[in-house]
Symmetry: C2
Subunit: 494 residues, 2 copies
């Protein structure tokens, strides 16, 4: 059947979508979400997902093409497009199999991921896959297969080094920019550490957001490989490099209900390590009432799964539990965190010790894990590298290689100090509330916005002493933060 092409001004990335008038679709016995083949003279046949419109301006004699589809077929208005019905991909039957509670084979999982990347599965079908994994779970073998499939169907970075170090933190702790201190230490020790980090989704800043204050966030694989080979590491945004792109597409389907199927979460994290060729990985699981993992029991289950997955993928994985009771460092928000990081790297006197000590500890473990330091000597080696200024120099090399941005860092122009309401001891810090406040103040979009913490858990305070300062670039954003109980972020007991 030949129809006239007309353009629909929507672009959805690499997915090809065509729209038919309901009557035409009914005549062709087609439903929304079905696949069709679009044939235009002189162009390769294009497989597309079908959308249907009711009594629209789109005529029965027309086919509407989303922008991506339009340009892929090099269409002009009124061009003849031939429509043919296409089969559903076989992967839909595997998704149904998983919904029925069966385990999927290596090949079946790979087929699903292949079609996710090729955008031959609709968002609805990916959602069904997510829910099946969420409810039935993924076995250790399935998790390893899923990880490999994600890596094999995405871009990879290849290095000749035998040892490639990496780290990951199961988020939820504000501040906590250890990555930006660990990488220069490890790279200064001569170990390759190419790091792809995430941007904030619901938090005030991700490592990629904070790094972006100091340097360009690059996304070209060849350039990144060159930088890593030259200076021993980089810190960039994983999403931009298109590593593990299947994962990004599944995250989109998980968003509406914020579903975190554990097997998918593990595969998602480890695929990013695997795709840059990591051999030694340190996983940080903060535990606390206000972070993702609330109890040691939960933590131990996750630890076992990480270790098993690492073994199945042929990686050395070490999992540590850290304290997630309060923010790490004092700044929360891109610039404020970058300031903390630089203070630690420069060995400044007022550098936040929580951030320094946690980074040294973790860098030490990585030095031991990779065999660079003897068991029990990692921390002191890491501290030496940091104190010597070599970590700072390495960070400056990395920044220069990626392309330096700001050199002078500052907090936002507008601020509000929150003071203690009474004398006493700080017995609780509400991580989530602080994150909300920082985000409402503008972080991470407004780089200078956020929160600066003056007091830490266990410290004694006098009534009127500053507990924390809210910074914003736009004055009214300070006002917005008043929707939160600002005096509940720190609980003080007499």
């Amino acid at each position: 059947m030949k129809l006239n092409a007309t353009k629909i001004p929507i672009r959805v990335g690499s997915k090809y979508i065509a729209v038919l008038n309901e009557k035409r679709a009914h005549f062709l016995d087609l439903h929304a979400g079905d696949r069709i083949i679009l044939k235009k003279k002189g162009q390769k046949p294009l497989r597309a997902l079908l959308d249907i419109t009711e009594n629209s301006e789109l005529k029965e004699t027309e086919v509407g093409l989303y922008e991506d589809t339009w340009s892929k077929l090099k269409t002009k208005y009124g061009d003849d497009i031939e429509i043919a019905v296409a089969e559903k991909p076989i992967s839909t039957t595997y998704i149904k199999k998983k919904l029925n509670g069966e385990r999927l084979t290596t090949t079946e999982l790979n087929e699903i991921i292949k079609d996710v990347v090729a955008e031959d599965l609709s968002d609805l079908e990916v959602a069904y896959f997510v829910s099946a994994c969420y409810i039935h779970g993924l076995s250790d073998r399935e998790t390893a297969d899923l990880t490999r499939s994600i890596v094999n169907n995405g871009n990879k970075l290849k290095f000749k080094n035998k040892v490639v170090a990496d780290k990951h933190c199961i988020g939820g702790v504000p501040g906590n920019r250890t990555t930006m201190i660990i990488i220069p230490i490890i790279a200064a020790a001569g170990i390759l550490m190419p790091k792809t980090s995430s941007r904030a989704i619901t938090s005030p800043s991700g490592t990629a957001d904070t790094m972006e204050v100091l340097a360009n966030i690059l996304n070209q694989a060849p350039k990144l490989t060159k930088i890593a080979n030259k200076v021993g590491g980089f810190i960039t945004w994983g999403g931009g490099v298109d590593l593990a792109s299947a994962d990004d597409k599944m995250i989109r389907a998980r968003h509406p209900l914020s579903l975190d199927p554990q097997g998918m979460l593990l595969a998602s994290i480890m695929a990013k390590k695997f795709s840059v060729g990591s051999t030694h990985v340190l996983i940080d699981i903060p535990i606390g009432p206000q972070v993702k993992i609330k109890t040691k029991k939960e933590g131990r289950i996750l630890k076992r799964r990480f270790e098993t997955l690492g073994k199945n993928l042929g990686m050395k994985v070490k999992v540590i539990f850290t304290n997630g009771d309060q923010p790490v460092g004092r700044g929360i928000g891109p610039s404020l965190e970058a300031m903390d990081v630089m203070k630690v790297l420069k060995n400044e006197e007022d550098a936040p010790s929580s951030l320094r000590e946690k980074s040294i500890k973790m860098a030490g473990i990585l030095l031991e894990l990779t065999g660079k330091a003897k068991f029990g000597r990692g921390s002191s080696m890491a501290r030496k590298i940091l104190k010597s200024g070599k970590a700072y120099d390495k960070m400056m090399e990395i920044i220069k290689a990626q392309g330096a941005k700001r050199t002078k860092l500052r907090p936002g122009n507008f601020s509000k100090i929150i003071r203690a309401g009474k004398d006493g001891k700080i017995i609780e810090v509400n991580n989530k509330l602080i994150a909300h406040i920082a985000r409402t103040a503008g972080a991470p979009k407004d780089q200078e916005a956020g929160v600066y913490i003056h007091k830490r858990l266990g410290e004694k305070v006098k009534k009127g002493e500053p507990l924390y300062t809210i910074y914003a670039d736009i004055e009214e954003r300070i006002e917005y933060t008043k929707q939160y109980p600002l005096n509940k972020a720190f609980i003080i007991k007499k």
Copy 2:
């Protein structure tokens, strides 16, 4: 934030969708599937679902409105539209609860269905609800609550009669147009039977398609109520009347993977009965290797669930098992089936006995169930009504009331006879294959297309005798059917 309105030429029914450029969405911290409030001066604020487009023709200063949204807000090009972020509906948390394997309360299920009808849940979220129901199942109580919610959030037909009869068949058997014989018999007996039927989805014809050959398929509730009160019944397409519209929306989400969560299937069927006020319902479960229900064991589980649901809803429900080994009647396809139906109603000599006897049996059970006939006397009463010509007269009243269409029925202009390849006895009839052939010949779109069956299971045949005839309105459609093994539809054993 104020943006300029521009139109997207897609209409999706009652769902309101707005589109933002990716950069604008990122700036507003919005994701696809989030809800926003659209405010236009002089119009009520409108809640809409957000879609996002990449680097599109849609500018950062613009908001794209789907046709429905555009006209609802009475928009003109360039109008200022203010955008505000809206909360997700609370029903999304109930969907997550169900995904987590918990039971939902009456209120929670009603909230989900309310939002499904209001189109405040995205297709993705409805898919998550479907998959949760599919995997975890729905308890008897949840199924009854779901049914009531579907009915309460949709249109209803109200009748004063104390007894309202209904029937339903769990499809899969070609032909089988008993409804069109049972309704006139029951209505002729003085019992109200307002019947909403389905159209074919994957079969060669649904009751609504076959009825449409003879009469208009009406969809206005007041008119249907009037007809039922006047002549005692009608036969129309349920989908057009917008009864149980939540169900149609859930079916759309079930389509891509053809998911049939049992509780949803039950609720879907019974909601349609409940919304026309049915008090006595007969459910026909054909059992056979080529129909939906393959074994008596499966059938018994479904029977128990139907009976329990009926009890919970305060309906009298009777479930019977019938033979699903071969088509009922001889014609398959709208016109061919309508011809069978009229032959039975007219008591013609060559009327297919399988269709007549099954209809009489079922009408008899309904007459007993509703107390019109004494136990054991229903069939003979039904047969008497049919033989007397009263059922035919009633059918003509119904057709007239709905608006008569064709009076002269005929099969398609092109045909092909499939003959026995050898002498022997017919030991198997392949329902599915016959349905595929009829559909490929053009049914139900081409009303005259389909298959006419000459021989039945158990009959002896001689080599060269006609087994069945394929009819089509378009000659090449006969050719298309050759993709199937036409000589495998009937298995003959020497």
